[in-house]
């Protein structure tokens, strides 16, 4: 792991993820984004550019996720985050369900049931599976 968790703080009010809280955190962001700009500006074949960008994105992504896992959180932070995430999930579910309802209604109007976006359905199914798996794991754990 390149980044240190103490360079960042949990993003509470502007979405998900982390925000740099020290100059090292900002330096890390700049150092990680700089190669993306350099690769994009490089005069190489399109596919090579895509491969380089993908590789760098994987390195950046893995390092950032590893750091997110290790950012210190106390029990109050964990409870607050869990409640916030639950509320966010409910908002997302309401919007997705309303979206499906709208798409079904629109499909009925034009006699076409396949107008429902499969990605939305997949999101709901995957969400249900993850919820069930989480509950199962937590029930077994404690």
């Amino acid at each position: 792991m390149i980044a240190k968790p103490e360079w960042f703080k949990r993003r509470k009010y502007t979405g998900w993820g982390l925000t740099p809280s020290t100059w090292q955190g900002w330096a890390y962001i700049v150092v990680m984004i700089l190669p993306i700009i350099v690769i994009t500006e490089m005069n190489v074949i399109g596919s090579t550019q895509v491969v380089l960008l993908s590789l760098w994105a994987i390195v950046f992504g893995i390092d950032f996720i590893a750091m997110m896992v290790h950012v210190p959180k106390d029990e109050r932070d964990i409870i607050h985050e869990a409640i916030s995430e639950r509320n966010a999930l409910w908002a997302i579910l309401v919007v997705l369900t309303a979206g499906i309802g709208y798409q079904i209604a629109a499909g009925i109007v034009v006699n076409e049931i396949t107008r429902v976006d499969p990605v939305i359905l997949l999101a709901l199914i995957v969400g249900t599976i993850v919820k069930a798996a989480s509950n199962f794991y937590l029930d077994k754990k404690n």
Binding site: D74, E75, R76, D77
Partner: protein, 63 residues
Amino acid sequence: METNIALYRNKLNLTQEKLAELAGVTRQTIISLEQNRYNPSLLLAHKITQALKQKHIEDVFYL
């Protein structure tokens, strides 16, 4: 739940930051506890009691 955290912390000349470090939580959590806005877990209550050099948890936390 109410607490005597501030009382014992001041007796030991501990800052909120130092107590937070000893208990392994953020300063914000200590502030919330001192203002009786957060009910800690039993584990955290024990850690804070120890950090404040008290023997009995009920001396620090009470209903």
